[in-house]
Amino acid sequence: MKYGLMLLIYGAVLFFDCRSFHLTVEKKEWRIYLVLGLLAVLSAIPAVYWTHLDHAGASLSGMFSQFIS
């Protein structure tokens, strides 16, 4: 749950961000953006693993379920 949520946050932020300007930037910059974006998404998994796991998962999923309800 916590991994999925973090990937969702990172993915959504990058998706909405790149949608707004991907046609206007030069090709080289766009390629750099994609490589760094991929690295950022991949780094989210180990980062969540270390983010105080004992209660991070619980509080993240708790936050999410509270938000939904």
Binding site: V25, I32, L36, T51, S59
Partner: protein, 366 residues
């Protein structure tokens, strides 16, 4: 890309807010107990000397940006290598600062929120501010400075009542070497990133007084940190400082105004969040400009967001526990690496600039 301008006053405020990050959380070199104020005094003096050095260095840069100046000073691959090294340094330094901020927030105010959440929110705000340009960040600094001054006055004026000067300890002569190390620890972790502010220099509206504005910012920041350390010592004492994880926060948490306004520490948490925002924004701006120069990009603002997200992840990966963070802050190896980047690197660049300009002058005369 059009060069944006900030007023010198905004530049001074930005410098002050940049160095104020983490000033209400961790008291660096706290193991020096009742003499920690002396370490802060040494750190402030070192920072004044370094900012003087960098101001003189940037005079030689004339209209060039810092990275163009590096290419001018060093032969082709070396200028780019130093740019890449400084970019990496800015990245890691921001990671450390964000880690202190994240762990402070989790332990003091938001105990159930995972450490990554608040730094991530600050980073996202910093990314959008950075994309809006340095002018936007400068205007925000002008607004925030009033709140920062109010919190500092709350911290210092309300303390006057209960201060105990007997708790201060003046270091003995034979201890000065040990306190120099303490001063260097404070300097490296709190006031050492002066080289990152070189990215602001081309944006100053009045070029002739930009050095004075930066110097004032550093002097005020050093003075504020020094006063905070003195008040903390005179309130908690040496043993209180060594035993408390966040002594400055503790000092504020015991204050009240006439028994009806309490929890003044919340104001410090808000101030810390704002300071972290400026710290992240300026560091990201430095990284972006370095990135733009390295890859010869026209604009270079697009990759700020993935870099920001990487920053959030790396903060967790590098310092996922307080002991790892303390090793980074207090170890000898870290101290030497930081000193070489924060003091030796600007000094060598200054010497190179001297030699280069002398050569050009001699060739011009011939």
């Amino acid at each position: 890309m059009k060069l944006e301008r900030i007023t010198n006053k905004q530049g001074c405020f930005l410098t002050l807010l940049f160095f104020s990050s983490n000033c209400y959380s961790l008291l660096f070199a706290a193991k020096y107990g009742a003499s920690v104020w002396f370490c802060y005094l040494i750190a402030s003096l070192i920072s004044i000397a370094v900012v003087f050095l960098i101001n003189t260095l940037m005079k030689y840069a004339e209209n060039r940006t810092f990275f163009e100046f590096l290419d001018f000073l060093l032969p082709c691959p070396f200028g780019r290598m130093i740019t890449a090294l400084l970019m990496l340094y800015a990245f890691l330094s921001t990671c450390t600062s964000l880690s202190i901020f994240g762990q402070f927030n989790q332990l003091t105010a938001l105990s159930k929120t995972p450490t990554i959440i608040i730094p991530l929110a600050v980073i996202l705000l910093g990314v959008w501010a950075c994309r809006s340009g340095i002018q936007t960040i400068g205007r925000m600094a002008s607004l925030t400075i009033l709140f920062a001054v109010a919190v500092f006055l709350l911290f210092s004026l309300l303390a006057l009542d209960g201060l105990n000067p007997d708790l201060l300890r003046i270091p003995k002569e034979n201890e000065s070497g040990s306190f120099l190390r303490g001063g260097l620890i404070v300097f490296c972790n709190q006031l050492g990133d002066i080289i990152l502010l070189t990215v602001l220099y081309p944006h100053f509206a009045r070029r002739s007084t930009r050095g004075r504005a930066t110097m004032l910012g550093v002097v005020f920041a050093g003075g504020i940190l020094f006063i905070i350390s003195i008040i903390t010592v005179m309130t908690l004492g040496g043993s209180g400082i060594s035993g408390d994880a966040y002594p400055v926060f503790t000092v504020l948490s015991v204050r009240t105004i006439g028994g009806f306004i309490q929890h003044l520490e919340l104001a410090s948490s808000v101030a810390m969040t704002l300071f972290a925002f400026f710290r992240v924004s300026l560091s990201l701006y430095f990284i972006t400009q370095a990135f733009r120069h390295l890859f010869s990009l026209d604009d270079g603002r697009a990759p700020i967001l993935p870099i920001g997200l990487l920053l959030a992840s790396m903060t967790q990966l590098l310092y996922h526990g307080m002991p790892m963070l303390m090793v980074r802050l207090e170890s000898n190896l870290s101290l030497w690496i930081l000193l070489s980047i924060q003091i030796i690197c600007p000094f060598l660049l200054f010497v190179l600039a001297l030699i280069k300009t002398k050569k050009i002058k001699t060739l011009g005369c011939k």
